[in-house]
């Protein structure tokens, strides 16, 4: 967070100096970032909730775009590409501190977002939703539960899970998707 920034205002444009005006990839990265900013904000807000984490994630998303050498050719389907980057980011990137690459000479000053975060009502509502979802875990089939648990909690790869459960990797993936799908149904029906 910028020290001294006015956290009471909603600021949807990056503050500070515009990124180094270098055409080509970085310009393109900036353009698609701005074009899809609302969508990505919505995504990170749902998953991360805390404004500081959301801001970190948006910053990291931009940096990953700016660092991608052949971004234009990879980005035929822009939304799909961005959501793929964002997915990888939340799945494994956020436990580490972000390291801002100084090589880029890009100054996308830290996003300033409305700093109030979720209201107590929203936080409680999410907690209740998740509790309902938790009870769905018991209704999963044994394979679904075991595969999803091992893959997520024990961080086992699909190959490791398939060798422990003695089924094919295809079956492990099917169980994982089925588990996620049933949990999502439970979340959806409670909101």
């Amino acid at each position: 967070m910028n020290p001294g920034s006015d956290n009471k205002t909603v600021d949807y444009a990056p503050v500070g100096n515009p990124p180094a005006a270098r055409e080509g990839e970085k310009g393109f990265a900036f353009r698609i970032y701005m074009q899809h900013r609302e969508s990505m904000l919505g995504f990170f807000r749902r998953v991360l909730r805390e404004p500081e984490d959301v801001a970190d994630a948006m910053q990291e998303l931009y940096l990953r775009l700016a660092r991608q050498p052949d971004l234009e050719s990879r980005c035929q389907n822009q939304k799909a590409y961005l959501f793929t980057v964002a997915t990888n980011l939340v799945n494994d990137g956020l436990r580490k501190k972000y390291v801002r690459s100084l090589d880029l000479h890009v100054s996308l000053d830290h996003e300033t977002l409305e700093a109030s975060g979720p209201s107590p009502e929203e936080a409680e509502s999410l907690r209740q939703q998740l509790r309902l979802v938790q009870s769905t875990c018991d209704a999963l089939s044994d394979g679904e539960r075991q595969a999803f648990f091992m893959h997520r909690v024990n961080r086992m790869t699909y190959r490791e899970v398939s060798s422990e459960l003695r089924v094919s990797e295809r079956t492990v993936r099917r169980w994982v998707v089925q588990a996620l799908s049933r949990l999502q149904d439970a979340l959806g029906s409670s909101s």
Binding site: G42, F43, R46, V47, L48, R49, E50, D53, D56, Q76, N77, Q78, K79, A80, F83, T84, T87, N88, V90, N91, L94, R95, L126, R127, L130, R131, V133, Q134, S135, C137, S141, D142, G143, R145, Q146, A147, F149, M150, R152, V153, N154, R155, M156, Y158, E164, L165, R166, V167, R173, R174, V176, V177, Q178, L180, S181, R182, L183, Q184, L187, G188
Partner: protein, 327 residues
């Protein structure tokens, strides 16, 4: 017993599109055609929100508390020291007894009972009809038989933490091969050890132990918080008090920590969590002490750490097993 023989596993269920896409993206399984289809799917109203919900769940499910039903203050993706925080909350919920039961002891099947099982590497919470709960560790079998007059469970093998609701009319009993544990208080944990020995650890409350073949003249030992006792069918073999029982229960968070245990014992402990056989061969290295953390499921990382820190070699045998030898 394979998971596929359990309920409903062979059925192929319809899945939500969001779950389909989230798993595919997370697995990195996206061709150019897939990207185009994913794009079209994202453009339809409501799908971005569904996708975000899947992201939320995918990451929430990584936290052990999500599965144990503990108060899940879920901030999954950004964890600043979250592991110890989560563990602390669980302890506040459930001071437990830990019983470890070793060996597959032959039992007649309990009638009118339910059977719960975990495979190697799995952990699972079971909530019983009276809202008592049992948290099963790796490779554990539990049978439950509740009647109007009694609450009986049997721990056939493995390790479990019992959180027992008070019921003056119906005492709660756990049968093991070595004897019966009766709860007059709250929570405890049990573990099967080698040679038909059972280890009982009490975190809160009072528990009595009746070794199966002990004479009536001997009073049943009563344990309270912070006490550990090993017993077999003939009686108590060792007893200790003022023990840090909570450290023994860390496996609930998927983490096993070692502080100065002998290397062969550590290897034996870690091998409980995988069906890959891990053998230790060679000269006696029980003088070597291990301190560190093993995260359930990360056996490879554990072995790499061993090889780096100790004069041992880790060899993968042709039959798929692992042999650790002193170098």
């Amino acid at each position: 017993m394979t998971a596929a023989s359990d309920r409903g596993d062979s059925a192929i269920r319809p899945v939500s599109e969001a779950a389909y896409w989230y798993e595919k993206v997370s697995a990195g399984d996206l061709s150019d055609t897939d990207m185009a289809r994913f794009e079209q799917w994202l453009l339809e109203p409501g799908n971005e929100a569904d996708y975000a919900n899947c992201a939320l769940l995918w990451n929430a499910a990584e936290v052990p508390e999500f599965w144990t039903g503990g108060p899940a203050e879920v901030a999954p993706a950004v964890r600043r020291g979250a592991l110890s925080r989560g563990y602390g909350r669980w302890v506040a919920l459930a001071a437990s007894l830990v019983l470890l039961v070793s060996g597959a002891l032959l039992w007649p099947i309990m009638s009118a009972g339910d059977r719960y099982q975990t495979v190697v590497g799995e952990q699972r919470l079971v909530v019983l009809a009276d809202e008592s709960s049992v948290f099963l560790n790796t490779n554990t079998v539990l049978e439950v038989s509740y009647t109007g007059k009694s609450r009986r469970v049997r721990l056939d093998r493995g390790e479990a933490i019992f959180d027992v609701r008070p019921d003056a009319e119906r005492p709660f009993e756990v049968q093991t091969g070595a004897g019966t544990v009766r709860v007059v208080g709250t929570r405890f944990a049990l573990r099967s050890m080698e040679n038909e020995r059972v280890r009982l650890a009490v975190s809160e409350g009072r528990v009595t132990v009746s070794p199966r073949d002990s004479t009536r003249a001997e009073p049943s030992p009563v344990l309270t918080a912070g006490e550990i006792l090993d017993f077999n069918s003939r009686g108590v073999s060792s007893r200790d008090s003022d023990v840090d029982v909570e450290t023994l229960l860390q496996w609930r968070s998927g983490v096993i920590s070692f502080s100065g245990e002998a290397l062969p014992a550590v290897i034996r402990e870690v091998s409980r969590y995988t069906s890959t056989s891990i053998e230790f061969r060679g000269k006696d290295l029980s003088g070597l002490r291990v301190s560190g953390i093993f995260r359930v499921g990360e056996v490879d990382a554990f072995l790499e750490g061993l090889a780096a820190a100790f004069p041992v070699a880790v060899v993968h045998a042709a039959d798929g097993g692992i042999v650790i030898t002193a170098t």
